[in-house]
Amino acid sequence: MSNNKYFGYAGKILTVDLSSSDYVVEDTPFDLIVNFMGGKGFGAKILYDGLKPGCDPLSPDNIMVMATGPLTGTLMPASGHITLSTKSPLTGIWRDSHCGGFFGPELKMAGYDAIIIKGKAKKPTVLVVKDSKISFEDGRDLWGKLTFDTQELLRKKHGENCQFMCIGPAGERKARFANIVSGGRGFGRGGSGAVMGSKNLKAIVVKGTKSLNIHDLDGFMRMCREAYNELTVSPDTGGGRPKYGTNSIYSFMIEAGAHPVKNFQTGVFAAVKECNEDVLDKKYYKRHIACFSCPINCSKASRVDDGKYKGKFTEGPEYENMWSLGAQCGNSNIGSIIYGQHLCDEYGLDAISAGNVIGFTMECFERGILSEKQIGFPTNFGNDDAIIKFIEMMAKGKGVGELMSQGVRQMSKELGKSTEKFAMHVKGMELPAYDPRGAFGMGLAYATSDRGACHLRAWTLGAEILDVQDRMDPFATEFKAELVKNQQDFYAVIQSAVVCLFLNFGLTQRQITRCIQALTGIKEWKTTEDILKIGERIYNLTRLFSMREGISRKDDTLPERLLKEPVNEGPTKGVVVDLDTMLKEYYLVRHWDKEGRPTKEKLAGLGLEKYAV
């Protein structure tokens, strides 16, 4: 029944070369497992070793690594995730992203810990993986189709019991922040959809029937039971999050002034009364949706029942998109947010970057840098019609949409006129939905995240805003470096294990470590320190990857607006982020030198000495 050598692992890696329509299946090497665990860790090692420095992310030389981890597809709560690592066409550096749903577990059931995709197909192709049967199917009839239509057609052809991932028209035309959609979820950030499009790979179908063995069955079941119980009683994972989804934090962020408004011009959102989590819950949420094995069910199916967006629906909108298509664009029309998110998913665009760029474009319009003639219509903040039009223009590359779809960094470069001061990105990745001027930790988190501005490498808001008992001062720099470093290392573990980050809100690091131990029995992974060391190893290796692409201390920064331009109202009035103090401390805590390079001693301690530069 089971062909796996190691507990918790499928035991095989599938490497596909699209150029020659060929593939090989190899055993997952034990030293890869023990040093890098899975998911993001596998991606870091395989990409660092396999990619030539400076290679074009949209050329056949780029590699995509889709990897699960030991916990994926097990009884462990929230174990429906999978990681995709590749060089980003948006930032030109390291990127990995994580998709919930069911694809990861299905891939493991098909018998693979990971799929590595190389080369470029001659014509649009669908990769089909059904247990040990691998085939390359003609994808020409699907090329140009929206993501949900594509998945529906594939379902009709391959049956109900398969899982799919595919790109939409945005990925096909290599929009720099195109995403990959699987079910109603996706690999969001950093343009993995463009990489898939550049390889002429329209979709992947996977179906599996194989089993996973458990090292200590009784122990693992008991720990999972405990984990379920604790997640259910936690006020976050058992209270706010199941009810409101990720929007459970919406009002807290608004109150703290940490929810950026109108492209980070202010932290005060006047329309919050008509646009908040209670309105969503009462008026729009129709049901709860969970990923594989997840009791948190943070996802919601929403539908608009009246008004000009009547009948529009989406899986969501989650907190990030409530912001990106909402407050970021000065928009409080929830119907338009729901429709906008659906469009982003359908065309295959990352909705965080999309909304960030739209907000930037609106500010350029209001400042007279872009005219109505250049854009084609007026685009003041709050114009929901413009948001919808922009999404379609970016997806199709029409008019100003072509420039917008290259990301805010490239757009401000072409526009000039000091627009870089309010182009809200770090290392080319657009900022998500938290204003560091309301929580300094997020400033450090954005500046040092390995894929550019990102809230999923360290998320300090719990400690700085939400924690009731011993909240950290959000405007202080003390202890933020340790907090961010510890989170980055542990999140790297979670993203290599591969489970959902939301386990952090209900379980301790020790608990998750014990679950990994009971499942795999790997003796090198006994303590939380052992596990954190894997995370630190991965985080240092992704740093080295990006350094090889030219990243250094000068890039570990924030947009000028956050460093020099305070908000003049609300709870964050007069504040700018003191990044330098935190960054110096961060390098110390990480044992990186003053230029942000990992020291030889640090690398040696992590077993990465051969990567020292």
Partner: protein, 128 residues
Amino acid sequence: MPIADHKKCTGCHICEIICSVQHHKIMNPKLAMVKVNSNWPWEDKVTICRQCRKPKCVEACEYDAIERVDGYLRINQDKCTACMECVKACPFDGVVVSEITQKPILCDTCEGEYLCVNWCPTKVFAKM
């Protein structure tokens, strides 16, 4: 017998996972005797046998493949020809078709313990 309130189902498939762990000591939802069917994003629906007192599936089976063992209905996989008449006959859509063997299977209730019912985070099932 468990009655499912489909509106409460979030589609997490925990019922399938725990079923495979309990019966096979390994993890493989495809081996489960309970099944979740998804109609994204509006519905997830659980298929589970209610262990009827007067089962229509038994009447429909021409091969006498559905037997009572220790009081519980069970499909004798050797006798079953996968004609699917039991699947059609069940008024509650309660017969799971295995993806691996392509044959129908019935929930054996874990000797009345119903681990899937106990583990379900949104309490989809009511034990009658």
